[in-house]
Symmetry: C2
Subunit: 451 residues, 2 copies
């Protein structure tokens, strides 16, 4: 993005089985019977691409939990699914969640390098540290690694992964058939990493990715999470309920960048929003009510118990929340805990009301309205210092994404807020982010950075 | 396969960058500039499917080694690549190599379950234990795990993976919108595994794969490897140089099945063959010579040193092999060591001759001839008790696979040895192998097994 081009917002479609609303699968417009069918996700990705969206995104967890009794689950491993989608799309970015707590950097770096090549430079990695003991129990541990230790491991993991991507210089492949030299091995280096958590000699067995590194994304908003994001992330997914909260988070995060030698435009803040879209406001509100009425209370209580680190089973649905622990005692998603606890306190919600409020977005902002009203909301946050773009969480799929692409995107385009064609090929180009220099190459200064 | 249908052979296309010959990338018909391009592999997979082949297969290693100076490397992580190929093919099976030594069973089981769903039941897993210290050094270990321990870990890994695939019954998904019940959680079980190497509570977070389990493939031919194959594998890739060796291996492996309660037709033996095809025998031999002349001796010596666990650098190319260690002292690929050592001894080969002999197939059988002569070779092994089918290793790609599909497959079809259309949808159906019963479901007897 040059100084003279107009500032444009970025849109990331968060794909989630039958939709983000926890009762979406029961809605007549949803297609839960297709959530294990590649063609379903292919259609979603192609819809996002038709709307010129920057990217599609898949969250991930490494345990089933009890969620599957009352909610449609596909559960495909995100990189596997996105790689299949790479083959049937041309431009849209592909962002996969992978945990640094339960993986090895060599595998993870290699898979993202592979996806980046396969997709022609469209791979992004949402870096998570995983928050639940259920996940630990699938990997030989009875206790979950402590929050701060998870972030320590994540930092070392990122150092190793970036070195592995940099272990090949961009021009290492010579392809000299005459002399029989395929690669200049002076430009392919061991990384010789020996740290607290990992020992990795390298080099990677895949050439440097088209984007240099895949786009690095982070979604934790705790203190550790924000510091990690300020150091490594190029896009941040975050849950913010009000404009004031959004502005405060935006300012906080951007202000941390300078300490790491980074400019403010090197990290994009993309708050989540679950838009419940109707052709009239009444229709949108009716859809929202309809989804709420389809909620299964046991499911809502189980989800809420997980978010709050507190077993709420058996408590009266029309009563208040019980006394909660402090954030410091939460070893899962700390920022989500605080957000939900504050939401309940601020609005004096009963358990039933809180479950209804969280149904569509699990703590992300929900907004019901017409396409114009949705566009107004996005414009307000974008122009008022709360967002560089948005993570769109359609309450039901595929219809909710189609409604957004067909009705909200054209309004954003008319207002000059969103692209009218893809001007780049890679995910970094869509997001206006530079291709990273190779830190292991001798002459970093000679490497091109976009103007 | 019923008793009355004619016995048909199976064909598995082993895809390898610019081709299996180590100098293929220098040949004018090869396209090494495309080995990091998805469309290249897409074209190869579609060629295999046009030929009605049972499957395509990708080998794997978890370290670069020094190979890249003189040979074209794609190096994509196999599951990532095969998932992309699943989206652009309809019928051909997709077999990925994944190591049990450097992975976690939860991840591996989940990825294969994902690929099996994404491909509509076409996933296969070539189970390897990884053979080099270079790989260990990318995963925090200075020494490679000892051969027998690797197989012990592999056995436990397989036990966990199969339990995870069986952690959902086939009919666990109810999709009862009215009652709000997506899955019958009485049919989704924890596996509670606590063993020597792994602790995995489960269940898997992906429903049972369409094939029940992906097809299980094994390629090690050591004593440990053969015992592992007899217990778990449904297809075995093997390197055998002569008909007599092929017959002896075939008989040995099949005779081990009864001890594990398995019938002989529950495991297919698919020896590798690198067919160097010409429209005349002279043309085929000329192509073979041409490829040999393109070999880079340093590369051949390095490869041979690896196979023999002996540094051969600096030895005279026209001299004999030095004294070698015994197989028991080899901690890598034991059976390949023995095959190469015996080949050199039997035919009294110099280093240069041995490198030429190994160039096209790395120890797999190489045969140069016309399409009819190649078909004769396949028919002989198939009818003389040495093979249930073949792993086809084209010396150069994409041309070598096209030649096989366009000229050898029609001959096999005319002889009644190979299918003239796909009759099944899944990889197991192509190979005539049963869908495994769910061992964790209470009424195993009630589960259907193909007649």
């Amino acid at each position: 993005m040059t100084a003279t081009s107009p500032r444009r917002l970025h849109l990331n479609a968060f794909l989630m089985n039958a939709g983000h609303h926890d009762a979406a699968w029961r809605h007549p417009r949803a297609q839960p019977e297709r959530v294990t069918d590649l063609r379903y996700f292919q259609q979603l990705a192609q819809t996002a691409e038709r709307g010129l969206l920057d990217s599609v995104f898949l969250a991930d967890g490494l345990a089933l939990g009890g969620r599957v009794r009352h909610n449609a689950l596909g559960g495909f491993e995100p990189l596997t699914l996105l790689s299949a989608l790479a083959a049937v799309t041309e431009r849209v970015g592909l962002i996969a969640t992978v945990s640094t707590t339960f993986n090895e950097p060599f595998h993870t770096a290699r898979k993202f390098a592979s996806l980046d090549h396969i997709s022609g430079g469209r791979a992004g990695w949402n870096i998570v540290t995983s928050g639940t003991v259920d996940e630990a129990r699938n990997f030989g541990r009875d206790q979950h690694l402590e929050h701060r230790l998870r972030y320590e491991r994540a930092r070392e993991f990122l150092e190793v992964a970036t070195k592995l991507w940099d272990s090949w210089e961009d021009d290492a492949i010579l392809l000299d058939r005459e002399r029989g030299v395929y690669a200049d091995t002076d430009k392919v280096r061991e990384i010789g990493h020996r740290g607290e958590h990992f020992g990795v000699r390298g080099p990677l067995n895949v050439p440097r990715p088209p984007q240099g590194h895949p786009l690095l994304v982070q979604a934790g908003s705790s203190e550790d999470g924000k510091e990690f994001a300020a150091r490594y992330a190029e896009a941040v997914f975050t849950a913010q309920q009000t404009l004031a909260d959004g502005q405060s988070f935006y300012k906080d995060l951007k202000s941390r960048l300078a300490r790491h030698g980074r400019a403010e435009d090197q990290l994009l803040v993309l708050p989540g929003i679950a838009p419940v879209i109707g052709s009239t406001e009444a229709e949108a509100l009716a859809l929202e009510r309809e989804l709420t009425e389809l909620q299964v209370p046991e499911y809502g209580i189980a989800q809420l118990s997980g978010m709050l680190g507190t077993d709420l089973t058996g408590l009266p649905l029309d009563g208040p929340l019980p006394e909660l622990p402090g954030e410091r005692d939460i070893n899962g998603n700390k920022s989500r805990f605080t957000l939900v606890a504050e939401l309940a306190r601020r609005d004096g919600l009963t358990l039933r009301e809180l479950i209804a409020r969280l149904g569509a977005g699990r703590g992300h902002r929900v907004f019901a309205g017409t396409p114009d009203q949705v566009a107004d909301q996005l414009e307000e946050w974008f122009t008022q210092g709360a967002a560089d773009g948005f993570t769109i969480m359609p309450p039901h799929l595929p219809g909710g994404l189609e409604d957004f692409v067909d009705h909200v995107v054209p309004i954003l385009q008319r207002r000059g807020l969103f692209r009218t064609e893809y001007t780049g090929r890679t995910l970094r180009e869509h997001y206006g982010l530079p291709r990273p220099a190779n830190r292991l190459a001798p002459a970093v200064a000679a490497e091109g950075r976009p103007a």
